[in-house]
């Protein structure tokens, strides 16, 4: 039997990240998840690291642990993210900084460390997370959408830099999914947003998983620098 693939998922304690961790463990991956708070997910094939994705030393230490335990990483899912719905004129700088740090710098840091480890095996798949708020230029999400625009740009450039190592870098852009991230958004705003999609419904975890399945399947080794938005945005 082939060795299991090693997957890292950030923000794996709850929501989409946890769903993905459970899904890929069930499908034979060894999954290493991380989040700021401890996880109660206990599955054979799953291990959890407690860290802040912007803590460079902690992130490097986690990759060192993965390297020593498994010798490689095959897939990185950069799911960790925070949102803040605020009119730009009422957005504190500290909030903007937190969004940039977690959504952009955290994604960058994990991409960098994963690429360093994937380079050794000359193969790897990186999937980043953006949002439909970016192409829709949603009012009230200026900073959040800007951090994800940065993630999209990073995705496209890394795809070029890392292509020589057979590492693909793509991004998925979910519509609103019922998670903690959307809990604080007023219903009227969510309804208006869903009305702008080609298909008028909430996203489901399985919709996101489906795009990730596509990006990481062996046949997708010619798919890189792509951003797929759900719902027809």
């Amino acid at each position: 039997m082939a060795n299991p693939q090693i997957m890292i998922i950030t923000g794996a304690r709850k929501g989409i990240g946890r769903f993905l961790a459970e899904h890929y463990v069930q499908h034979g991956f060894d999954v290493v998840g991380c989040s700021r708070a401890p996880s109660d997910l206990q599955l054979p094939g799953y291990q959890h690291h407690r860290l802040d994705v912007t803590d460079e030393l902690a992130v490097k230490q986690m990759f060192l642990d993965v390297s020593r335990k498994f010798g490689r990483v095959d897939v990185l899912i950069n799911n960790a993210g925070i949102a803040s719905m605020n009119h730009s004129q009422l957005t504190p700088l500290s909030t903007a900084q937190k969004l940039v740090n977690t959504n952009f710098l955290g994604t960058f840091l994990f991409c960098r460390e994963a690429a360093n480890l994937m380079q050794r095996n000359r193969s790897g798949r990186i999937v980043n997370f953006t949002t439909v708020a970016t192409p829709l230029n949603l009012e009230g999400e200026a900073v959040y959408a800007a951090t994800k625009a940065a993630v999209e740009s990073l995705t496209r450039t890394l795809a070029r830099e890392l292509a020589e190592f057979n590492i693909t870098v793509n991004a998925v852009g979910p519509t609103p999914v019922k998670t903690d991230l959307t809990r604080s958004v007023p219903q009227a705003k969510l309804d208006a947003l869903i009305a702008r999609q080609a298909i008028h419904r909430y996203g489901e975890f399985r919709d996101i998983q489906n795009v990730i399945d596509f990006f990481i399947q062996p046949e997708s080794d010619f798919i890189t620098a792509q951003v797929i938005f759900l719902g027809g945005v």
Binding site: K60, Q61, F63, L64, N116, R120
Partner: protein, 107 residues
């Protein structure tokens, strides 16, 4: 936890030489690097080309992690902003890594 076995200048030099062996596997015969303190790694007077140099630094960082259990970032701002590059020769690089590990409390 971090192991400190062999984290001295000699251990670091050996790690650099092992990384040279690794990078040499990807280089044509006429550009293979010698395992000596004077070997130029990067710069106008020869050594690795830019992407080869990136690979070299990444491989060395990983080797330091794997062999010594230390998570280090070699290409930090301090290194990049120095007037004389700590990456230009094997000797300078081993001095720099020794200093870096000492500063981080691992030397």
């Amino acid at each position: 936890m971090s192991s400190k076995i062999g984290v001295d200048r000699q251990g670091i030099l050996q790690a650099i030489f092992a990384t040279i062996d690794e990078i040499n596997e990807t280089l044509p015969d006429n550009r293979k690097l010698e395992k000596s303190a004077e070997t130029r790694l990067f710069g106008r007077q020869g050594g690795l080309e830019s992407l080869e140099f990136v690979n070299f630094i990444v491989l060395l960082e990983q080797r330091i992690g794997d062999e010594f259990g230390l998570a280090v970032t070699l290409a930090d701002e301090k290194a990049i902003s120095r007037e004389s590059s700590p990456f230009s020769t094997v000797e300078r690089l081993s001095d720099y890594v020794t200093e870096l590990l000492k500063d981080s409390g691992n030397g």
